[in-house]
Point group: C2
Chain length 330, copies 2
């Protein structure tokens, strides 16, 4: 057996999860009758909100807190929150302050947040949307870039959360967010597909000795499958690719995220981190901040992703290191 | 595939892991040529050290830092550090301050720490040992208590780490530690055995619909195996047992740890937390602190444990909530 949850289609699963999460993290509050989690009230200029399907914990709820998001809107497993849920969550904050949505680049997520924005604007809200599209995988058939929103989004949550605490205006947050997202590249590799018991996912299947490059966080196919050889070879492949697509140059300051996608032991993640950091250093890049752990997962998936974040401005490192109560930013 | 590490018998795996860990956590330092991790120098009265086999990450290295341990001594996978490694690690701190070892109750761990203590005392060190024996499982044949050291040890790391920061003496730390350990009860359940690729473990095997109660963190057999029915039934069974063995009474203040043993999704852990906390409350206990997450794991194991910590003294909650830089205490 892989799971304790007996019925993944039970509509109450997400609500039960959030009730458990706020017991463990009393700085968070679950809204009544809505699967959204909010932080303590504050007087920042802008209200920062993200959200998406569940099954990716600790994302997004683990990035709510002081120096981080004001709220996370949580959908059913692998299903984005409805426009209605988004509107209801925003109404909790009222229309006195502008609202900034940080949205991962999936069509369904984008549509629901866009629809909600239209409704909210009619109600007198000022709403802006930032789309995070850090995935550097390509479609296996068309070879077109896919630019989904994957693990790099946690750097955006943290960066903008700290900036909001320093009382940045909406215009400043948007400028910072767009610049940062343009410098964000993520590539993932899977050792197994994602799996939700009793639900048919269009997830890839792998033989027990195979890995898949460039997979998505809902089990979307990667761009290549091959026999696994060694973590040194895997880290070389991913580092070379990220170095090339990000347009990095020797001397660039970077932040690195080595993200466990679910069931991969932390031991493996740390061993991989050493290999990846050494390879970036060999290319002349300067890692100023390294994060390793399960920051964004896919339910029952075994895999790992690397995010390369080019640091254009030394202030970004200060913002990333700024104090937060968000539990998933260890 | 479940892992990225290609050779789990490679003696360098642990050293590579620790090098990766200190890249991600620059407040930690790995000793040269020794698989031990230490915190920044401080002037506390007592040096607090724990250790054990690896394959349980984030234990123990994730509990090193300000307000926590001074060092973690890390053995090979599921193998405790040698007496020699323990001695060498302690020598890094010198013999000016007394040393307190926090040791999990496994024969091999105890023996190696005892041997090291003898050597160190001959070298002029003052050394004391606290044995953590929070496991409330029983031997399936003799029905004798097993009292292994399992997840509850992280409460001891945190409690004594905070107390050491408040400059408790060795006598005070020993008194606090013994009292706390006497109030600590853990019971675990597995949905799969532990597994290290290419190594034969004496781990139990489970059918895909079975769970095992009272398993150990190296794959030791539990006291009962049954078909899984629901997380409500499972939480009732574990809560009833812990309530009984701990001698809790209505009105008792408690801390609860819901610990993921490895590959169980955080969603399942939070859903389980809600159920467990509600049941303890129905018994009249007062949960003052709840922790949920992967605090002590077993390599490739799917499972969960609950620790019930009876709070005899309100000061214990303050110590558990005291600031720390230890990365695993989120």
């Amino acid at each position: 057996m892989r799971n304790l949850i007996d019925d993944h289609e039970d509509r109450l699963v997400v609500s039960k999860m959030l009730k458990g999460a706020v017991m463990a993290h009393p700085n968070l509050k679950k809204l009544d009758h809505i699967n959204s989690v909010v932080s303590s009230p504050n007087d920042r200029q802008v209200v920062l909100i993200s959200g998406g399907g569940s099954g990716h914990e600790p994302l997004d709820l683990g990035y709510v807190g002081a120096g981080a998001l004001d709220a996370a809107i949580v959908g059913d497993i692998f299903i984005p929150p409805s426009a209605e849920q988004i509107v209801q969550t925003v109404q909790y904050f009222g229309n006195k302050r502008p609202i900034l949505f940080i949205v991962k680049n999936f069509a369904a997520d984008r549509n629901n947040f866009l629809k909600a924005s239209e409704v909210l604007r009619e109600q007198g809200y000022v709403v802006e949307i930032l789309i995070v599209d850090d995935d550097r995988s390509v479609d296996p058939e068309t070879k077109e870039p896919r630019r989904r929103g994957v693990a790099g989004t946690i750097f955006i949550h943290k960066l903008l959360g700290a900036a909001a605490d320093k009382d940045y205006s909406m215009a400043q947050l948007l400028e910072l967010g767009k610049k940062a997202i343009a410098n964000l590249s993520t590539l993932g590799v899977a050792l197994s597909g994602a799996e939700i018991p009793n639900r048919q996912l269009e997830s890839f299947q792998l033989n027990s000795d195979e890995i898949a490059y460039g997979i998505g966080i809902h089990g979307e196919k990667g761009y290549r499958t091959e026999k696994y050889q060694s973590f040194e070879r895997l880290s070389r492949e991913l580092v070379n690719k990220l170095y090339a697509v990000s347009g990095s140059e020797s001397g660039t300051s970077i932040a690195i995220l080595v993200n466990g996608l679910g069931t991969l032991p932390l031991m493996d993640q740390f061993v991989f981190t050493r290999s990846v950091v050494n390879l970036f250093e060999l290319k002349g890049l300067h890692p100023e901040l390294v994060k390793t752990g399960n920051y964004l997962t896919s339910y029952n998936m075994t895999g790992i992703s690397i995010t390369l974040f080019k640091i254009e401005d030394p202030n970004w490192i200060k913002l990333l290191n700024y104090d937060t109560t968000a539990f998933a930013w260890q």
